[in-house]
Amino acid sequence: MKNRLKESNGDFVVDIINIFLLSFILIIVLYPLIFVISASLSDPMEVLKGNVWLLPKSINLDSYMRVFKNADILIGYKNTILYTVIGTIINLGMTIAAAYPLSRKKFYARNVLMAFFTFTMFFSGGIIPTYLVVKQLGLVNNFWVMILPGSVQVWNLILMKTFFQNSIPEELHEAAYVDGGTNMGVLFYIVLPLSAPIIAVMVLFYGVGHWNAFFNALIYLSDRSKYPLQLILREILIESQMDSMMSSTSDTIADQRLYAESIKYAVIIVASLPVLMLYPAIQKYFVKGVMVGAIKG
């Protein structure tokens, strides 16, 4: 799309400053990222000694091999993918189901329900009663315990409701009702199609939330075959942190530390890459112009 509008000098300066600042930010952020990648490709001894600065040293894929050879990690991967996909779908459904009614000014129960939901952000029964409830529902050590208890995050609900309220003008709704639309019709034919950005954000937020989840697994899962990835990783990486607090649990500290260090960076890459790849897929929904002609049309 050719820009036929003339750019003033002021605009040009703004652009230059912008690019300059962003490049600076890019470098600051990029350095540690490159470090992690390099560290994962280097000989673990070199990393431990602190010899890896920017580029890998003594490149080898040992770290990655060790990660993939660990059967637990592969199981964790599979489980996490399942939890993430199924969980996010349910999250989306539930969040839209609440955000849409709450965003309508004419919805009578609006404020009451908002307070009802928001209250739970501050007050909760705590681990024990929640565990008892989950137990009574038969969800302990069950696949669904990783999905159902977190069906709706109030934070995300509020964000979605705000988006519906502010980004979709009331006139659009009025016009729809005048044309004989129902609430559900408006939801499916007008609101949702225009909500690509917020839906994309929700997929990201909920998806990543599932991907990084470990706490419910820690508390409710005893079956190793259901463990998510993060729980497995924590065992390997964090267990050694606890060493210094309790009396040493490992006789052979050096070997154990070396093993943990040697897979640490590979683990990060392996654990984060899929989710990182999610962003480019989602990113096209953050495109401007979603609203073009909506009102005039």
Binding site: N18, S151, T182, I198
Partner: protein, 319 residues
């Protein structure tokens, strides 16, 4: 359902009782009520059903007796918490870190989103977005490990740069005065990109014809940003600000714990680490619950205050 808004207009409506209005509302919006019902059920089951556990904060929890039959101790746990000789230090550090994080960390994702919004080169934009968004995925353990090594006074890169410009190496991790800064800046590094995502979404929702009209009218880029872009994301920003105010007391445990050491503890001792240390020795559910309740009450008060303030100056609010 036709002409529903017209049908509902009734000059006598403000004389109708709440229950009548409610019934009317169900008649008119029954599909909305139906839609939101599963969510209400979810909250009742998973959030309100266990809510009776809040009383643990006022009891001496004994597992064999269960929550209901455990002995009542009133405010004993709260007193214990308030009378702790480090109480003021804990409050000061917790609030200090939170406020610092809010003041610095809140605007940066917005600025980042604004800056990215003005970039026309799609490839550059994508690269910057992905790079800033990636650190969010580093586990805390790795993040702190990297921070400690980058800040090492012996061969950390930051100190190398300081020394090159003629300064003296600073031991960032052992100086109490630096703790907050290191904590907040590393948090910004990790989360600014991620935090800008919601603003990118909001920006995508701004009507593009507004820009075109402004450009035709001869408005400069700066003017367009000030008059169109910024007002476009203010509602989102305000909601997030209100939500963030409701998290002031929640300085997370793990990151602080990993960054804490005996030399910086006068700045790094926060409520969550204190509760952890005291709770580690035995199942101190009651005590932890009492402190949690205290935090929640303060958070709620702050959130409601900020929300009220926002509405009073004519902006949006949570409800």
């Amino acid at each position: 359902m036709k002409m529903s808004s017209a049908e509902n207009y009734n000059p006598k409506s403000n004389k109708k009782s709440p229950s009548k209005l409610f019934i009317n509302s169900i008649k008119r919006d029954w599909s909305l009520y139906l839609l939101i019902t599963p969510v209400i059920i979810y909250f009742i089951v998973f959030q309100y059903w266990p809510m009776y556990g809040v009383q643990i904060a006022f009891k001496n929890f004994m597992p064999m007796k269960g929550i209901w039959d455990s002995p009542w101790v009133g405010f004993k746990h709260f007193e214990r918490f308030f009378s702790n000789y480090q109480f003021w230090r804990l409050m000061k550090n917790t609030l200090g870190v939170s406020l610092y994080q809010l003041v610095l960390g809140f605007p940066i994702p917005i600025l980042l989103a604004l800056m990215l919004n003005e970039v026309r080169n799609k490839h550059f934009k994508k690269v910057v977005q992905m790079a800033t968004y990636a650190p969010h995925f580093f586990s805390i353990v790795v993040l702190v490990g990297m921070v400690v090594s980058f800040l090492s006074p012996i061969n950390g890169i930051i100190n190398k740069i300081i020394q090159l410009t003629g300064g003296e190496a600073i031991s960032f991790m052992t100086e109490p005065a630096w703790f907050k800064t290191v904590y907040v800046f590393s948090g910004i590094w990790q989360n600014a990109g991620w935090g800008s995502i919601i603003y990118m979404a909001a920006l995508a929702g701004i009507d593009i014809s507004l820009y075109e009209a402004a450009a035709i009218d001869g408005a400069s880029k700066l003017k367009r940003i000030i008059n169109i872009t910024i007002p476009g994301i203010i509602p989102t920003a305000i909601i997030l600000l209100i939500l963030d105010s409701g998290k002031i007391m929640n300085v997370g445990f793990e990151k602080v714990f990993l960054m804490q050491n005996p030399l910086n503890i006068s700045s790094s001792d926060v409520i969550s680490t204190y509760v952890y240390k005291n709770g580690l020795v035995g199942a101190q559910y009651s005590f932890a619950s009492a402190v949690g309740l205290f935090n929640s009450v303060i958070n709620l008060i702050l959130l409601v205050t900020v929300n009220r303030f926002s509405k009073s100056i004519g902006e949006t609010g949570l409800w």
